[in-house]
């Protein structure tokens, strides 16, 4: 699936998007796998309470299922308006 990063999450990881092969069932499972990859991922995901997640471009939760999902995005709380 495609995994996207925005704002400081993108800066910490060092890329805006990547394709990830995962057998994780939930967003939280995917986060665990990403965290284990490298320090920059561990740094970006050190406190998930500071992060928001969108699943297939809809705001979602970390316990959301990844079944059939094509795109997951991680970012800090939004500052629009």
């Amino acid at each position: 699936m495609d995994v996207l990063y925005f704002a400081w999450v993108r800066e910490r990881i060092g890329l805006p998007r990547e394709t990830v092969e995962t057998d994780a069932n939930t967003v939280a499972g995917l986060v665990e796998q990403l965290r284990a990859r490298e320090d920059r991922y561990a740094a970006a995901f050190s406190d998930v309470s500071a992060l928001r997640v969108a699943v297939d471009q809809e705001l979602s939760d970390f316990d959301a299922s990844l079944d059939g999902v094509r795109e997951v995005a991680f970012f800090p709380p939004m500052t629009g308006g």
């Binding site: 969108a54 809809e58 705001l59 970012f75 800090p76 709380p77 500052t79 629009g80 308006g81």
Partner: protein, 147 residues
């Protein structure tokens, strides 16, 4: 309903006039415009706004549809820019048309509250001293409780 997500500047006067013109059934038009403001201790040189192409348009349309379902509205306009903006530039605008002003005002406030914390935009402030991401304020999240 019209949703515009654009890097280019918009003409507030022309947009407001276009939105307000030609209606005979709407007694109230409310517009709100957000402007890049310099309030920090270091002079703000620019604001860079990042967004999530695809999700942004869907999220804005969803917020506008919720407002339309909740209040009696004739029309809704949302324009939001991204990219680099300098102080004094308009970031975004919303406009609502309703038969009566209460619906138009409340729907505009609702749109603004949700735009702040549920539309995928992230602001970065650039000053002579450096740059930093704008941190979401607790008050903005709490503002949603009102609805």
């Amino acid at each position: 309903m019209r949703i515009v997500v654009s890097e280019a500047a918009f003409d507030f006067g022309a947009e407001a006039a276009d939105f307000a013109t030609g209606r005979t059934d709407m007694g109230a038009i409310v517009t709100f415009t957000g402007v890049v403001r310099d309030t920090g201790t270091d002079a703000l040189e620019a604001m860079e706004i990042e967004h999530y192409p695809g999700m942004t348009e869907t999220a804005l349309a969803d917020i506008a549809e919720r407002a339309t379902a909740r209040w009696s509205l004739g029309d809704v306009l949302v324009i939001h820019r991204y990219g680099r903006l300098v102080p004094g530039e308009m970031i975004m605008m919303v406009a609502t048309a309703a038969r009566h002003r209460r619906d138009a005002f409340e729907a505009a406030e609702y749109l603004m509250d949700y735009l702040k914390s549920r539309a995928p935009f992230w602001k970065r402030e650039i000053t002579a001293e450096g740059s930093g991401w704008v941190v979401a304020r607790d008050e903005d999240e709490k503002a949603l409780d009102r609805w």
